[in-house]
Subunit: 298 residues, 4 copies
């Protein structure tokens, strides 16, 4: 299988490297990035560097792993974009976190162009991407998803199929980020409450995460809130804000009121309005403390 990989950011670089390590199932990996220098480490691992998007679209499949809808639109619909150059029957595997609406549009256009489209967004932070420990949520026509099996195995620890409509995978991804952000908000409020009462916040978190809330997200984000350490951002606040916005947009189309998601949206707006662009998205977890007059959020 020959595959192109477009988007070598914090996540994509690790994912592409794992494809290169995949051995006999993946023969050739051609990588493209807007800033070409990010391709170099991968070339050293055996990748071919594509000078243009179109050069990454000549194989059996092309993966896109980009920051947002706009970036995907530019690469897919632009002059010499993916839709225009991918050969008939080849697969576009969209692993970015994008809107349900864009996923729907991509699916329709690829069908029209005689190509296949699989949505396969991922859960996991850059370290999980590098360690091939991602969870992949895949949706699309069964033959397309089947064909991507070797790719998913190379990049993730487990793949979940959620139906034949690609957009379902994107919705699941967005809902997952909503659930994580909910954990951050809940911890932020609880820590503000007990902290203002004088309970030791570290001990409190240790108690929570060793008893009822053993899921890693509680430890990871609770720790960041307790330590007030939001830089460098593993997942930046504007991206978190974007994902909540996309979840709400999907919910609006489906006519599903999500008051907790609305609260999260307002939290992100407040965080960004106060200058939080460079912070990790978990920084919304200090707003409850700030509103409680705890100053720096401690």
């Amino acid at each position: 299988m020959n595959v192109g990989f477009i988007g070598l950011g914090h996540m994509g670089a690790g994912m592409a490297a794992n494809l290169l390590r995949a051995g006999h199932e993946v023969h050739e990996v051609t990588v493209y990035n807007h800033t070409p220098s990010r391709a170099r480490p991968l070339v050293e691992l055996g990748a071919r560097a594509a000078a243009r998007v179109r050069d990454a679209c000549r194989g059996d499949a092309v993966i896109t792993m980009l920051a947002d809808d706009a970036a995907v639109e530019e690469v897919v619909f632009g002059d010499d974009g993916v839709i225009g150059v991918l050969r008939e029957g080849a697969i576009h595997v969209s692993m970015s976190t994008i809107s349900v609406a864009l996923s729907e549009r991509l699916a329709a256009m690829h069908v029209k162009a005689g190509q296949r489209f699989v949505a396969a967004p991922v859960f996991g932070r850059p370290d999980a991407a590098a360690a091939a420990k991602l969870f992949i949520v895949a949706a699309g026509a069964p033959d397309g998803v089947d064909a991507c099996g070797p790719l998913f195995e190379a990049m993730g620890q487990r793949t979940f199929r959620v139906g034949e409509e690609p957009k379902a995978a994107n919705l699941v991804k967005l809902s997952g980020n909503f659930l994580i952000a909910s954990v951050i908000e809940a911890l932020g409020e609880a820590l503000a409450l007990v902290g203002k009462a004088g309970v030791d916040r570290r001990q409190y978190l240790e108690f929570l995460t060793s008893t009822l809330f053993t899921a890693p997200v509680y430890k990871t984000y609770g720790g960041q809130i307790v330590e007030q350490k939001f830089e460098p951002a593993g997942f930046a606040a504007p991206l978190g804000a974007k994902d909540i916005r996309l979840a709400l947009a999907a919910a609006e189309t489906l006519r599903v009121a999500m008051p907790l998601a609305s609260l999260l949206r307002d939290r992100f707006l407040t965080l960004l309005a106060r200058g939080g662009d460079a912070l990790d998205w978990s920084a919304i977890g200090q707003l409850a403390a700030q509103d409680a007059g705890l100053g720096d959020g401690s």
Copy 2:
């Protein structure tokens, strides 16, 4: 150590039974319940039955495990109540989920009466109480908490100390229930969203709980929402409503705004207004689906 145990409900019965099994450290357990018949199974295990509250207060410590503030107030402040009859230096161990304000008042009155007071609310449902698998959060003067060590070991799997002010333990307990209810709400909204989009809700939950959200609360409550099985209630909606109310009351005293807790409060009111008194508190997790027009919450 001779100990009294007041309150033999779903939780208390199991806890008292474990005290009886504790062996040489706990010599004698005297049990009292408003409805005396609930004492019988424990008498068969070796307990002495107290005919009045005062008869359960003659030992080194008396444990109260009751439904709410009112029940505790009746037992403690009533004629022949705990405060009136406990001997000097003996310990009242309050394991009920009560308000921070009542805990503060109890602490002050026991000090005045020359008695000791330890707040030690627990996390765990009735099966955990029966299996001695409770998590116990204890606070109070160190000597008092130390003295309760054998009792806690008999009833729980782990004890966490959160300071010398008893009320801190009650606040931690309430904050924990807030965190659990937050999980229920978040799951309810996410399941409404993906469910209305046609994603299989069981598979979705299986995905969540085997990847990012491995904590048991996600599995337990997510399962109840997916199956729409809210009866019989493991923890009834009015009790959940009460705990959120007490968390908000504590937050108000401390001047901490908790918008997610406010949302939960409104959810519980809606659930109860629609006739949910007999349901498990996780039934707030079906309100998002109902608001989305999914009828029975599916």
Copy 3:
């Protein structure tokens, strides 16, 4: 009619003065205040000063106009309190903004003591109290409310009857303050929005209040938000917070979810946590601007 008046604060002083001006229907007014010096100006207008609460309870009716539940409880239930000394058939007219629960309790106790009880809270700020321009909401047994007619005419511009249960009047009063606080919040958000976009806030408010939102509350509170003038407080933030709390408490008893009231509660907590005790309650209207990063709320 001989009447006592207990509570000579910003509101009560003006109201009592108007009773003194009422002429032949009100023969004698005996005033009492915790801080006796506040009675002097009224004595100059013809009032008799009572040294103790009991001395203000010897007439046909006694009016209480106090800050909160606690103040009313102290005056009514205390040693030599209203309940103990009011003669049979005499009327206690409670004009304070108190909880629905306390009103219910007062009604029951006065019935038991053979006295009559009328709840008659008022709408209007101190200047309206001084000008006899209050709106009075009265509830109670018809004969009792009828008997109070001359008093209400002396103090208000219009009286509305809302039933025979006194507590209904208190609920209406609380709901009215909820509606006013809702106006403040809505204006605060709208002003933050257009202000951050560069629209002139004064002109914007002038537009609103001369077209769609002609009710005085929009002009009064909108003006305070635009000018950021929250001192001196006409109605202090802690009192506003209290009234929202009491509205929510009544709603909880009735099982009515009020998400907008919950939002207001959180706003007041944030305002108070940030040091707003001395500000007018309209200062919650600057929080949206602060959350939008507009610093001082402009």
Copy 4:
């Protein structure tokens, strides 16, 4: 002045008729509607009927009064759309309630095409449009707004200028609808509260609207909630939902958290999910009663 008028719906028909009555300042009115039959009554009043959009764009100004962004985009950007055919220096007066983003885009494109652009959305329901009683909020280059003076005088009772950036007028319009929807929500909650307590809802509303809340919006929408009369819709729920969405979109761009607007958004989604498409937007005012278990919202 020769003027075109595009969009003869409930609002536009009355507005165009008033232009025809304006006398010597407005010489000629050419009307266009997607469904041509709606032009007939206006032709009888003296209008010329345009067969195509372009035929309505030959004068000094063309007014658009359409349902939403999509309708405006179709008329303005489509083949033979306004941008393409309006002569240099002529004015496009956009009176529709559209997004701030579209207004900004229109302004830029008209400048580029050498045309002038004035945003002038209106407040008032169809009866006010018919009676020339609209409030008009205008923004744009001063010469353009000045030139529209006779048109605004013919259609409205008062015009407010809010700056030189057209989009400011659109933001003010959206914020105004947010304020009205806030009134509906507040009334809905207050009526649910007092109604469930047994207070007569009609009397209560009469009290409110004759004292503190004299603005007509309270009477209009309060009456609809009390009578549960939401059909026929004066302003349909989907349009209300759209305007709150546009207000939130503008707020998001500006980074302004508006929690009350978020609540309104959720209310509209719930209303629409439950089948409220044909109802007046004031029907969100019955949701609090429904959540309180009052069944049909009474």
